[in-house]
Symmetry: C2
Subunit: 586 residues, 2 copies
């Protein structure tokens, strides 16, 4: 080893020891007679001292060391005069007697500090330097720690990790696949898995009972901040279980990881809320329940008073923002603008201020008496000093807009504390979702999800009303994972494909192997998949998964550091039997 | 849960309990008044009893259960009359009082038994049924266990798991890449990684110090039994280390895993042997040292006696097979045939029997006196009763042939016991290897491997003589892993690319990002990659990695279960800007 110790472990108990350290020059301070260097490695920073009086030659050498030089030093650990309480090595420093430059460094294109001066693009190009910065390093250390905790729990619970293949078959259902041309079978393609769904179901049919895998998945979608073409999933499946069993096991996992990572004990069960209720009370299937501010439907107290906007609305819905009656006109105007943003799309926002004197001031005073407004306030449980915010329109859009407004108000009122965690389960999702563009239903979760048996009869008459044995784990408004109890009967699966618009032939061609497997003793089974990138980001307290991935792609799917994707040699194309089409004229 | 217990855990201590079990019907024996069913799950087999006298209806139902039906039963645990000592549940059985058929099964296309009647092809097509068989199930359970042990050790040693990208860039160096067309960047391609080599080196430059990853790698090569297009690597890298440090850490890992998996304690250090010595003594860079039978070079005692074959040979080399002097003419003829096989390619084989009476009988008695043969015997340390086997020719081919013969003799003499493990390190590999086809050198390990500094000067004059800081871990003749200390200096890396026949432009285009990274403070670093599939197969005692992979490909790179690879939709091709070429006329 080119060191006896790392830069994060020496303390007062090591005084008088001769040590060898290796690391990077974080800072070089020439104080005239003395030169101080902060030496950095993965574990921390240790202060090195060079003294002009005792060793002028060495001190001269030290003065010339630039930032990010890699050096090896030997020296004596001594107690520091002015201690730094902020770092674990702050009580000691090293009087260096020997210095070796292991490698030089050019001046980095941005500073390697917690707050850097480098823009996004340059930092992506030099990702290996950006990864030296503490915030990113801590993110990746957190990722490693969360990953190991997850595995430890699942291992303890007798889950077997089984690796499923990456070179599989493309299926047109769902998102777009990345494909891989086969040289040995010209004209044919593998696909990279969007998830190991069918393989994990086959493993249940094989009798493997409790499977997990931390596995890369791939989706060729247009990208945004919280999406990457490749992402990591904690993929799990169990046999001989019902919905409640899976929820219990994975709630246990979440609790275990919270304890390991954050030292938080969740003593109570996570709340469970039905999808329909989540939509009604929060306008979202991933409600942030760190705060209340639930929706209250106000149709009965707002309609038929001559206000046409409300009278014509399918839904009039309000929330009560505690203590916000003092909001100025300017702030209220901002809220109106907020809900009118195109991505939210509300036409307007009605507010009622509940004054301290018991009177009400609203933006619709023309249409509603003080008594009317009192009825609203009673209904939303608003007290003096509170602000009632009301939206109206067709149900889906209004709920969606109110969800955004509620989250915005939660933010404004400081109710979304990053150090407060509020997990819950959303259960009983609808089985099908109407796809207006293609005028057909598609599976809300995926085509292998089982319907609630007692609603099966609605499949023929009112398919949108059928609920599924499907559930999501949501923490602080982020969908961390989702799963379902699967169909394990060939006829039911075949029926489901029909309802999803597959012809018999398509179903057979794409999923024939699975339906065939169902005929050889498929056990009842179900599972869940958790987004590992999101889970780690949630523990890290941010939304951007990119900061928790060592080498992410940009929004064009490119890795600008290695210049990928790129052209390939003509010989490669020829071997694959492919021609790249000429670019189309625009 | 659809069970209170699994089928492997009930024993005499559970007698009198009411339990619910779920599983597969392994066997159904109708004994007239009684019906016995072996119920199977991942954990074991439990015997169920149905009694015609006490519950005729239930017993009738049970009689009709076919093999591989999935059932749920409730019943009373009782002590068995005739105990089965072979299984953990063999002291008890369940008197069933309630039976539910969870799913039926058609008759499987082959029997789900340890020794099945199914051929390779049918078992691959129904892999999910083949995976039900104990041998495969145990292989995958072993894989899970080895994987977790590896992670536990590396975690304890402060290695961080960091995931590197799967969508990277194609480089013409080395084996063929699988490529992935980019829809967002038409005409360009990602490549699937053959290994995360450059990324792990970048992580060292980022200061991450101790990295590991259990990661899928991809090579588009023609396949054989122990090769798969996708395989799993235990990929590791460390900074501030020398060769010896890496060997110590990963020898520690091997010992830890041997202890966890096999309860074997390796108290001594693994032997280390130089590549040149391994070739001289075993004719192989992955010697099986469970037995001796080292090569002895016999040129001095065999040449210039008038036997032209030997006189013309660059190398005459012998081994001593202890106690094999009794081999019949027939067996000796078999050995001659063995070495003459095209894949071994020796012209002939000379033998000398060391008779019990001290005389010698050889296949070249015409040319050599008893005294001559005595000199051979002395040199190879042959005693009365031993057999000396001698091959000759040019050095490389002869060593290679003798390696095969030695392994064959080891097998014949029962010296290659599967339960005996003999690990060793082969060190100091040559840096470069002459590629006769392309008339150039290529990197024996990879282009990032550092040369021995004191041999650097030979790079210009005699490049084949330069050794590298490269090492392999070999167990029982199988290369389990290999690694090297890397180059971390831009100029040296650039020089290396030149020696490997890269132009400056090619080097820059393919590996510019790495050489650029070397300029910003790259620490000394090195690493190792272990073949996880092979490691597990080695613990399982076989060579075929396919039996340790849940869903392997066949020799044509196909998954016949899911019919992959396959054609893709025209729309997909169009989006990717690709045309599949018409098949060429032959």
């Amino acid at each position: 080893m080119l060191r006896t110790n790392n830069c994060g472990e020496l303390n007062i108990s090591n005084v008088e020891q001769i040590v060898t350290l290796s690391g990077w020059v974080q800072k070089n301070r020439d104080m005239g007679g003395m030169t101080f260097i902060d030496l950095r490695d993965r574990y921390g920073i240790t202060q090195l001292v060079f003294n002009m009086e005792t060793n002028a030659e060495l001190c001269e050498q030290a003065r010339k060391l630039g930032r990010e030089f890699v050096i090896q030093v030997r020296g004596l650990v001594i107690e520091r005069e002015s201690k730094n309480k902020k770092i674990s090595t702050g009580e000691i420093e090293i009087i260096v007697d020997s210095l070796t430059i292991l490698n030089k460094s050019k001046t980095p294109p941005f500073t390697i500090e917690d707050d850097t001066d480098g823009g996004e693009e340059i930092r992506m190009k030099y990702r290996y330097l950006d990864l030296r910065r503490n915030p990113l390093k801590e993110n990746l250390m957190l990722r490693n720690k969360v990953g190991f905790a997850v595995r430890s729990y699942l291992n303890k619970m007798e889950f077997m990790e089984v690796e499923t293949p990456y070179l599989i078959k493309s299926t047109p259902e769902g998102a777009r696949d990345f494909v891989v041309p086969s040289r040995m079978n010209p004209g044919t393609f593998y696909a990279l898995p969007q998830s190991p769904q069918t393989f994990k179901q086959l493993l249940m049919i094989s009798g493997y009972d409790r499977y997990y895998q931390m596995v890369k998945c791939f989706r060729d979608e247009d990208l945004r901040a919280d999406r990457q073409p490749e992402f990591t999933q904690i993929d799990c499946e169990m046999s001989f279980v019902e919905q409640n069993d899976i929820i219990e096991i994975f709630e246990g996992m979440a609790k275990y990881v919270f304890k390991e990572i954050k030292n938080i004990d969740f003593k109570e069960d996570f709340p469970r809320i039905k999808y329909d209720d989540a939509m009604r009370l929060y306008g979202s299937d991933k409600p942030d329940i760190r705060f209340g501010m639930q929706f209250v439907e106000l149709n009965d107290v707002t309609q038929n008073k001559g206000f046409k906007v409300f009278d014509d609305a399918e839904l009039v819905v309000g929330i009560c923002a505690t203590g916000a009656a003092t909001y100025s006109r300017k702030v209220l105007d901002k809220l109106v603008k907020f809900v009118q943003k195109p991505q939210i799309g509300a036409k307007g926002l009605v507010y009622v201020k509940c004054n301290e004197d018991g009177s009400f001031k609203s933006s619709v005073d023309k249409f509603y008496s003080q008594e009317d407004l009192k009825a609203w306030a009673d209904k939303v449980d608003a007290k003096a000093g509170d602000l009632i915010l009301v939206l109206s329109g067709d149900t889906d859009h209004t709920r969606n807009a109110m969800n955004e407004l509620r989250l915005e108000m939660g933010e404004r009122l400081g109710l979304r504390d990053r150090n407060n965690y509020a997990p819950l389960w959303v259960v009983d999702f609808p089985l099908l979702e109407w796809d207006a563009d293609n005028e057909r239903f598609h599976a809300m979760h995926h085509p292998f999800t089982s319907p609630k048996i007692d609603e099966m009869h609605l499949l023929e008459t009112d398919p949108g009303k059928v609920h599924a044995n499907a559930y999501d784990l949501v923490i602080n408004g982020v969908e961390i994972g989702g799963g379902s109890i699967r169909i394990y009967d060939k006829d039911m699966q075949s029926q489901m494909f029909t309802h999803l618009g597959f012809t018999k032939e398509e179903a057979q061609e794409q999923f024939g192997f699975l339906m065939s497997a169902f005929e050889y003793g498929a056990p009842p089974h179900g599972g869940i998949a958790l987004g590992f990138d999101r889970l780690v980001a949630m523990f890290g307290g941010t939304d951007s998964i990119r900061d928790y991935i060592a080498f992410p792609k940009n929004n064009s799917g490119q890795d600008v550091m290695i210049s990928s994707p790129a052209g390939i040699a003509d010989g490669q194309l020829e071997e694959l039997g492919l021609t790249v089409n000429a670019p189309e004229e625009k």
